[in-house]
Amino acid sequence: MGRYVIRRLLQMIPVFIGATLLIFLMVNVMGDPIAGLCGDRECDPATAARLRREFGLDKPVWQQYATYMGNVFTGDFGTAFNGQPVTELMGTAFPVTIRLTIIAVVFEIVIGITLGVLTGLRRGRPVDTAVLLLTLVVISVPTFVTGLLLQLLLGVKWGWIAPSVSSDARVDELILPGLVLASVSLAYVTRLTRTSIAENRRSDYVRTAIAKGLPRRRVITRHLLRNSLIPVVTFIGTDVGALMGGAIVTERIFNIHGVGYQLYQGILRQNTQTVVGFVTVLVLVFLVANLLVDLLYAVLDPRIRYA
């Protein structure tokens, strides 16, 4: 196990470097990294030149990248467009997005798994068909449309919630955004659970459990669910990274000042350090989440042994 973890960590290094380098190149080659550093105005030529030297922008790109990463590993993520250190922005943005992600994951677990189990056990019945159709619609409607529609209905028409989220981003304000963020994954979790349950229901070991004379409830919870949820749990685990990166749309619709908002601002103002900094953290979260899921897999399924 220990050796496996080390090998996986080593494998993560090229992926991490590749992904961050790719973003770094995109931002650098395409945009002007010092644009926006002088507030909303254009920088005057002298300041621009000074800033370029200061940030090492006169050096080759790979050197800039190395310098940047070197700084990152000493905890210096650079400066945002408004002069704040990027780490400070992160300090305010990440808690908000993490809260939002947790709410989304809770929705996936509670609603997704419940619906999946329900339909998996009643395959071909009307409930199954209805839920299946609903998931298809949810998958098909882009998240930003779902978000706008729910905001229109619940926020504007019926006034159940405030249409946009305050800057504290309290948990109760994040419930609807969390649902919107979760929506597509929720539909996938439902389908995955359903398929998994339906497959395992026909399995030999479930037949054995029934032949042992176990009560139906025990057959389902201890034998069927325990096995069927393994792929679901791993899906939800890997989804954490994707949700945080995908929160950009949701955060924009509900005006939530989280990671997505900061990134959006950074991109609008072409602030390299904000964008690359946030993306670096997101990529790390994604990679670590994947590693944890693989380890979790070994815990859930004793047949998997990592060597």
Partner: protein
């Protein structure tokens, strides 16, 4: 022991636009081991090819027929929008801004006073164009790279695998924002280029996997033992087996690409006005949603139906091509 369990789900989680997951809708309660009875083998059906069998199934599948008709309609109006909407989508009259449905303007007007019906009809072209071209690009690039890596293995395979890992690690919408924010173009090409750039790893994984599976088939081993050369093996024996899964994933992906284009346009980095795109219209309608919800609802509905149609089509094709699900 598998080193990276549950590959397909990983792929989806990674890209956020995947669709390899089971979208299997229609399984009747059929007995798995027929004919010949519950634990038996019986007389075999006449052998039919995978494709003719699939077509036989598809023609009878209502999901396929309905989604196919919707898509056909979309294609027709994207080629000739004037067939059903003769107006100019760029002609707007601010005096009529936010007005509701009226004679000659069934969907009303948006915040800039443009006719919502005309713009919604004309918006189909963008979506269909982006969807189809991106899918073609992704499918070609992905299957060539993935197929070759799977066939030849070794160093190239290792490099490609790491490369796909890198692309999966980048959140798609985020990548789009970064890359497209600086390109000011009114054509669909930057968006298509971006989707191909970030979409190919998904197909390449599928292609690589199915080529590796096909390579291990006994008849391919036999052909190799009989001295068939690489190119013949690849063309004659392996490609036909690897094509089906790629087509299935690509069809479903087409829907998600349309959705992605709209999302990027909504965020202001996909297509930009004066291009006509549902994403742009939805984005433009959002601030006026209190007074003119119709300007938001019509393009949203059109977008949702389009994406739904492609995903359902892919779903039906998948059911038909996957003999294991029968």
């Amino acid at each position: 022991m598998p080193e990276e369990p549950y590959e397909p789900e990983r792929a989806i989680a990674g890209t956020g636009m995947g669709g390899t997951m089971d979208l299997g809708a229609s399984e009747a309660a059929t007995l798995e081991k027929t004919p010949g009875g519950p634990d038996g083998t019986g007389p075999q059906d006449k052998p039919r090819s995978l494709w003719s069998d699939a077509w036989h199934d598809l023609r009878r599948n209502p999901v396929f027929l309905v989604s196919g008709l919707v898509i056909l309609f979309l294609v027709v109006i994207s080629v000739r929008p004037s067939l059903i909407a003769s107006g100019n989508p760029l002609h707007c009259d601010l005096a009529k801004a936010q007005e509701g449905s009226q004679a000659g303007h069934p969907f009303g007007f948006n915040g800039q006073g443009c006719d919502v019906y005309t713009r919604t009809v004309h918006g189909a072209r963008t979506s269909v164009l982006v969807g189809v071209l991106s899918t073609l690009g992704v499918a070609v690039l992905g299957s060539v790279l993935g197929g070759l890596a799977g066939f030849f293995g070794g160093v190239w395979d290792a490099i490609l695998s790491r490369l796909t890992d890198i692309f999966f690690a980048i959140p798609v919408v985020l990548g789009g924002l970064v890359l497209l924010s600086v390109i000011t173009s009114n054509t669909v090409w930057p968006v298509i280029g971006f989707i191909v750039l970030l979409g190919w790893p998904q197909i390449s994984r599928i292609a690589r996997g199915s080529v590796i599976t096909a390579k291990q088939n006994d008849y391919v081993q036999a052909a190799r033992a009989l001295g068939a050369n690489s190119s013949r093996l690849l063309l004659r024996h392996i490609t036909p087996n690897a094509v089906a899964p790629v087509i299935v994933v690509a069809t479903i992906a087409l829907g998600t690409y349309i959705s992605l284009e709209a999302t990027l346009s909504f965020l202001g980095v996909g297509l930009r006005p004066p291009s006509v795109s549902w994403g742009i219209d939805i984005s433009a309608a959002a601030p006026y949603v209190r007074n003119a919800p119709h300007a938001l609802l019509w393009p949203s509905g059109a977008l949702a139906i389009t994406v739904l149609a492609f995903i359902m089509l892919g779903d039906a094709v998948r059911d038909a091509l996957d003999p294991k699900l029968r």
